[in-house]
C-alpha cells in the first residue's frame, strides 16, 4: 500500500500554492510534513485527502487517482483529521465519534459493524469515560482524543492529520503522537503535518520538508533536518545530536541574523 504524489501543483489565491511535488508515503510508517508557515503543508495534505483537487499532477492510492475516486470509497480508505478541531454543535462525544462512520453507513441507523468500530475507536483513545458528555464541555486534550477517535472509527487505511497538536499541552501532544505511532505500528499509513521540529525528530519515520510550495527535501530525519536545510528553510541555527541515551535530538541555538 503506497500513496504516491506525482508532479502535483495547486494554485489558488486563498491558499498557499504547491509546485511540482513528487513524494511517496508507505503504510506502516509515520510520515511527517514539515515546513514554515505558508509552505503549503496543509494544501498538500488536503490534496492527498481529496478535499482539494490539484491543478496538475496526481495524488494516487495504489495506482488510483484520488481525485477521481468516488467520494464515499475515498472516504472509506482515507481519514482526515482537519486543522482547527472544529466542533460546531454541542453533541455528545459518542455522537461525534459516530460521524466517522458516515462513509460506511447505508441504512438509517448504525449497524453492528458501526457500533463495534465506534466502541473500538473510543477504547483506543481512552474516551469512553466521557462518551455521553457534550464535546464543547470537554477539555482541549479530551476533545483532541475524541476527534482522533472520530477518524479511527472510520477504519481508514490512511490517516492524515493536519496539525493535530495545535493548542495542546505537552502531555496531550504526546498522547496524540502516541496514538498516531500505534496506528502506524498496526500497519496503517499515517501522514501528519507538524510544526514542532522536536516532535518530528522523535516520532517521524519519514520526513518531507516543504519550502515555498516546493519539496525541499525528503527522507529520514538525519537526511532532511541537516544544519544547512534548517538554516535555509527556517532561518535557524540548529543541529541534530545524540543524547546520552543514544536518541537523536534537535538543538536550536537561535535565529540566524540576516
Amino acid at each position: 500500500m503506497t500513496l504516491t504524489v506525482r508532479n502535483l501543483s495547486f494554485a489558488h489565491a486563498r491558499q498557499p500554492s504547491l509546485d511540482g511535488i513528487d513524494a511517496a508515503f508507505e503504510a506502516g510508517k509515520l510520515s511527517v510534513i514539515l515546513g514554515p508557515n505558508g509552505a503549503g503543508k496543509s494544501t498538500l495534505l488536503s490534496c492527498i485527502a481529496g478535499v482539494l483537487k490539484p491543478d496538475a499532477g496526481t495524488a494516487s492510492l495504489d495506482g488510483t487517482d484520488i481525485s477521481s475516486m468516488p467520494a464515499t470509497a475515498r472516504a472509506q480508505r482515507i481519514g482526515l483529521l482537519p486543522q482547527g478541531a472544529e466542533t460546531h454543535w454541542a453533541i455528545t462525544a459518542e455522537a461525534l465519534v459516530a460521524l466517522g462512520r458516515i462513509p460506511h453507513m447505508r441504512g438509517a441507523g448504525p449497524s453492528i459493524d458501526d457500533r463495534r468500530a465506534i466502541s473500538a475507536a473510543m477504547s483506543a483513545t481512552a474516551t469512553k469515560g466521557f462518551a455521553h458528555r457534550v464535546v464543547t464541555a470537554l477539555s482541549g486534550g479530551e476533545r483532541a482524543r475524541v476527534l482522533m477517535a472520530r477518524v479511527l472509527a472510520g477504519e481508514p487505511q490512511w490517516i492524515l492529520a493536519d496539525e493535530p497538536l495545535a493548542n495542546l499541552d505537552p502531555g496531550f501532544q504526546l498522547d496524540i503522537l502516541g496514538l498516531l505511532r500505534r496506528q502506524a505500528n498496526d500497519g496503517k499509513g499515517v501522514v501528519a503535518v507538524l510544526h514542532d521540529l522536536h516532535h518530528a525528530v522523535r516520532f517521524a519515520d519519514h520526513l518531507l520538508l516543504l519550502h515555498e510550495g516546493k519539496l525541499f527535501a525528503q527522507g529520514s530525519v538525519k537526511d532532511v533536518l541537516t544544519a544547512a536545510n534548517l538554516a535555509r528553510v527556517y532561518g535557524i541555527d540548529a543541529n541534530l545530536f545524540k543524547d546520552e541515551e543514544g536518541a537523536i535530538q534537535l538543538f536550536i541555538k537561535g535565529k540566524i541574523k540576516a
Partner: protein, 321 residues
Amino acid sequence: MKARALTPLLPLLLCAAFLVSLMAGKVWIWPTAWAADNADGWIFLELRLPRAVLGLCIGAVLGLSGAVMQGYLRNPLADPTVLGVSASAALGGVLAIYLGINMLPFGLFGSAMLGAGASIALLLAISRGGGPIGFILGGMVLSTLAGALTAFVISIAPNPFAASEIINWLMGALTDRLMTDVWTALPFMALGAALLLSTGRALDALTLGENGAKSLGIDLMRLQWIIVFGVGLAVGASVAVSGVVGFVGLIVPHLIRAIYGEQPSRILLPSALGGAVLTLTADSLVRLVPGPGEVRLGIAMAVLGAPFFLLLLLRYRKGSI
C-alpha cells in the same frame, strides 16, 4: 434519555393543536357538528379544515427549513429567509395582485412560485463553485432587491385599495383559504420537505467543518443544490399560499435543540412537527382575539417571535449558545 421520553410529546401536541385549530374561531365548532348538514358543518369543511391543514403544512416546512439552514450554515441565527426565496416569492405574489393576475385561477400562486423559481435559478448561478458565504451573501442581496421591488410596486399601486390589498397579503394569513389552495401547494411542499429531510447526514458531517465533511465523502455542492431546491419549493409554496410568516424557522429549531440535543439530523423531523404546532397555535389565537377582523398571522408571529429573538441575542452575547 430525556429526548426519548419526550418523543411522543410532539405528535400529541400536534394532534391537540390541529384539533383546536379545527374548532377555534369566532364560532366554536365542536366535533359533533363537523359532519352536520348546516352552517357549522359547512364552516368546518370549507373554512376550518383547509385552514388547519395549510397551517400544519406551512409551519412544518418553515420549521424544517429553519433547522436545515441553521445546520448548513452552522449558525443558530440563520433562518429560511436568508436565501431570499420568501422575498422573491412575495414579490411574485405582489406583482400578481398589482397586475390583477390574482383573479385568474392559480394566478397568485403561479406568480409567487415563479418568483421563488427565479430566486432558485439566481442562487444556483451565484453560488456555483463558491462556499456557503457567497451563497448567503447572494441570498441576502436577492432578499434586499426583492424587498425593494416589492416596496416599489406598492408605491405605484393605482389606488389605496390595491395598495392595502397587497400589504394585507404580504403580512401573511391563513384566512379564507380553500381546499384547492391545499392541493395546489401541497405537492411543492412535500417535494421540498422530502429533499430537506434527506440532508441530515450531510448536516451532521458539517459539525466537523467543511473540510471534515468533504473528507467524509460529503459532496457540499450537491448539498447546496438540494437545500436551494428544498427551501425554494417548500418556502416558496408556503409564501405563495399564505404570504410571509416569519420567525417560525428561526425560533422552532432552538426550542427543539433545547429538548432533543444539537445534532442537526436529530432535530429535522421534530422541527417540522414543532413548526406545525407553533403555527397552528398562533393561527388559532389570532382567530380568538376579540374585535372585528383578525390580527394577521405574520404580525402575530412577529410579535411573539421578536422578543424571543432578542432574548436569544442577549444569551448569545453571554456565550451561552
